[in-house]
Assembly symmetry: C2
Homo-oligomer: 145 residues x 2
């Protein structure tokens, strides 16, 4: 049985670079650093993507560790992404707009043999919602009211 | 010329559902609602994705409006996504892990004719980094240290 749940944000532009986000009663600010035209009050949009991605990996990593009888003592997750902002700014259209690649690094002091490592990571990649949306195509509809 | 810039997060698991994120000196908490096994201190991972997406659309919408001589008086951005958490929890593998679809709604009191609307939205979709990463494939590498 498929049990779909909805998530949503309501957002208001505060300036061309800053957005005020309401999500389930929580308030978030998204801004840009001064070098990208903002006021640097908060992380920028593409950094929020990495934050959500890291948070998602933490959840899945723990669920899968439990299933695979891995006693996860601690976990750190670093994510690095590279992008060329030229398309965003309209100065060049040779590169894609978003991250060209993403590098996810997990660190734990829990000792795992090579087989356990591969099995754990493979299952995390397969079951992490954010990993799915970043590594695969998702249909999106835009409308203007 | 391609001028690539890097973005990154360093994250630490605080509990199986909660993550502490350091991004360029900013600190973010990602949590899950109680219904999804968390302590509900902050938005959850997939909500952060929508927040970053909305913030990104705000930036691009303003850049493109300026280019297209649209005097954007105000802008609200709502995003809704549906997902089935069964794969995440390992209870069913019939659906994908992430958002099955995303619906983006922009609202402004600025009057635009149909041609302007289409031209503006098309350019936003084409140049928004987060829209690119959610609607297209991105190569990702996982490693465990």
């Amino acid at each position: 049985m498929s049990k779909t749940i909805s998530f949503s944000v309501n957002s208001k532009s505060e300036s061309p670079a800053r957005t005020n986000i309401n999500v389930r009663g929580f308030n978030l600010i998204v801004d840009e650093p001064i070098s990208l035209g903002g006021t640097d009050l908060a992380p920028n949009p593409v950094e929020y993507i990495l934050a959500g991605y890291a948070g998602c990996i933490n959840v899945v990593a723990h669920i899968v560790a439990k299933e695979q009888k891995i006693n996860l003592k601690n976990l750190e997750i670093d994510i690095l992404g590279n992008l060329n902002p030229s398309r965003l700014f309209g100065t060049s259209f040779s590169d894609r707009a978003g991250y060209k690649d993403l590098q996810v690094t997990l660190r734990t002091s829990t000792k795992l043999d090579e087989g356990q490592k591969i099995k754990w990571l493979k299952e995390i990649e397969s079951r992490c919602p954010v990993n799915d949306n970043l590594s695969n195509v998702t249909p999106i509809t835009f409308s203007l009211n």
